[in-house]
Symmetry: C2
Subunit: 326 residues, 2 copies
């Protein structure tokens, strides 16, 4: 059996806590000490990634667990338009995850940290019957530039990045077909290695053009309901416009409807944001090859309605991920 | 079964996230947004408090679980000499903890937040077979004033606050005698409702007199080894000087030796710090009725030695809490 010290040293090696600059004290002390840059605001978020709730040891490779834990947490920064700086890692691990599994996990997390520009600043480790990864991620944004959920106004247009439902399709294929899923690489990659839209978020925040923003972590229907509730508005969602995953013909089709996946599938980590009608005309079709699509309109009427090809409307219930419902 | 939204609303009511001042965005968005005060540094720490590892649902009242989770995390700020500002709460709860238990838990946590001066700034909730509370606590300290583990120098004197081993005695009595423990109220209180030494920590940091500091969360023998390792020094610990718990005569005595409890018992959350010999002469005997005691000396020789009444020395192994050893 390993000791806490040995585990921490392995974290140190794979996730160097480069002290210096504004990080005065990194891992190894009781707490991290950071000198904030003058004129900027701090954006702080925390996220749990738990065995049997968010991932399965027998299904998900350790690299994906490490990568995705940090990607999910960083997506909350993208949703505010903040630039990632530091993260704190709180690990609770069973003995079976302290050997080779742990190396794979750290490799995946190190890759995510490099990709997102995050430096490990602190953390804690303990033992636990089930693996639990808790992350705190800290970013910065210009004064007053962070984009909130609460700024959507009637008449604003609703936009989304990427293609929705891909991660959920990847999960469903993985659960039903296991490694045979390899031929459907794209949805699988999106499920295992999601890409938080950090550049897009920062661009929208800096330009001041997004009036409200949230990331699609629980699924469009649920995340849109959060944004509308925070803003005190409703929305009309144009079903034909929603950029949605293509379900492969030879995929096991039971219950895998592409509109349903796009509306209620979680884990996409795309950005859902609102802009004024005037700005929408200047919205590029894509930013760094990530498509941007106008999918609806914000309304004074607080209901959330789905409008089909024929213009028929029906209420859209929030049926994305709720950990306490299932 | 409750929904995530309902749980979050209950958190809101008991732990108001008072927006305003430097907290621009509190709970309810993707992340918290804070405006740091100019000239100050930020001190950030994260801590896990897990069912069956750190607490037992059948033994520990929900109020104590909520209180202690925040007290433990805040103790890391005390150990740096930082002033608490904000916290983020990440909750993973089984269905059996979402009813009345949750109200008690929030009451305890709200009491701790008021006592320590902490405001809830964000968080997340999810379901889980075992209760897990993850906290991120943010504080501030003057530029360069945070006290690190790494500053102890040979010749410095080693000091400790309070009385050691009390929390461990409280736990042992609770496990062996359950509610009959009430007559030993003091150790029980210390185990259930520890008091992080925030005022003492801040005073030592502001005065610039502590050369190194750590809190006694794992037990004196282990925490002293951390401090010495970070500082590249050793220590002589004077056994007769260690302020230790009194084991009640009629307590079940099996294995409850007061020196052993003081050396290896965890969860006391006292401060262990080093000062120059010159300053030690001016160290008050107590600060706000918390006794301060000189218990040893820092040495160039990197061993940690325990010196008994007769001046005999023996090596002191780190035998406090290590979650991966047991």
């Amino acid at each position: 059996m390993t000791s806490e010290r040995v585990l921490i040293n392995r974290v140190f090696r794979k996730l160097p806590s480069r002290q210096g600059g504004n990080l005065r004290v990194g891992i190894g002390d009781d707490a991290a000490v950071v000198r904030p840059k003058p004129g900027l605001e701090w954006v702080v978020t925390t996220d749990a990634f738990l065995e049997n709730i968010h991932f399965l040891l027998r299904v998900h490779p350790p690299q994906a667990v490490g990568y995705k834990a940090l990607a999910r947490a960083s997506s909350d920064l993208a949703a505010m338009g903040a630039r990632p700086l530091y993260f704190l890692l709180n690990l609770a691990l069973p003995a079976r995850c302290t050997g080779k599994w742990f190396d794979g996990f750290l490799d995946g997390m190190a890759r995510a940290a490099r990709t997102f520009g995050l430096v490990l600043a602190g953390g804690d480790t303990t033992s636990s019957p089930l693996a639990a990864i808790n992350l705190t991620v800290i970013g910065e944004a210009g004064r007053g530039q962070a984009v909130l959920r609460s700024g959507a106004r009637p008449g604003n247009l609703l936009c989304v990045s990427g293609r929705l439902g891909e991660a959920e399709l990847g999960l469903q294929l993985l659960l039903r077909r296991g490694s045979k899923t390899r031929k459907w690489k794209k949805p699988l990659q999106k499920h295992l290695y999601p890409q938080p839209r950090l550049e897009l978020g920062e661009w929208l925040a800096r330009s001041g053009r997004a009036t409200a923003m949230i990331d699609t972590s629980d699924g469009l229907s649920t995340d849109l309901s959060h944004l509308c509730e925070a803003s005190g508005v409703g929305a009309k969602l144009w079903a034909p416009k929603i950029p949605r995953v293509v379900v492969p013909d030879d995929a096991p089709k039971i219950g895998l409807d592409s509109l349903r996946l796009a509306l209620d599938g979680g884990d996409d980590y795309e950005l859902l944001f609102t802009v004024s009608k005037r700005f929408a005309r200047h919205l590029p079709r894509a930013l760094r090859r990530v498509p941007l699509t106008v999918i609806g309109e914000i309304t004074r009427d607080k209901r959330i309605l789905l409008v089909d090809d024929a213009g028929r409307m029906k209420k859209l219930p929030a049926q994305g991920w709720d950990p306490f419902r299932k």
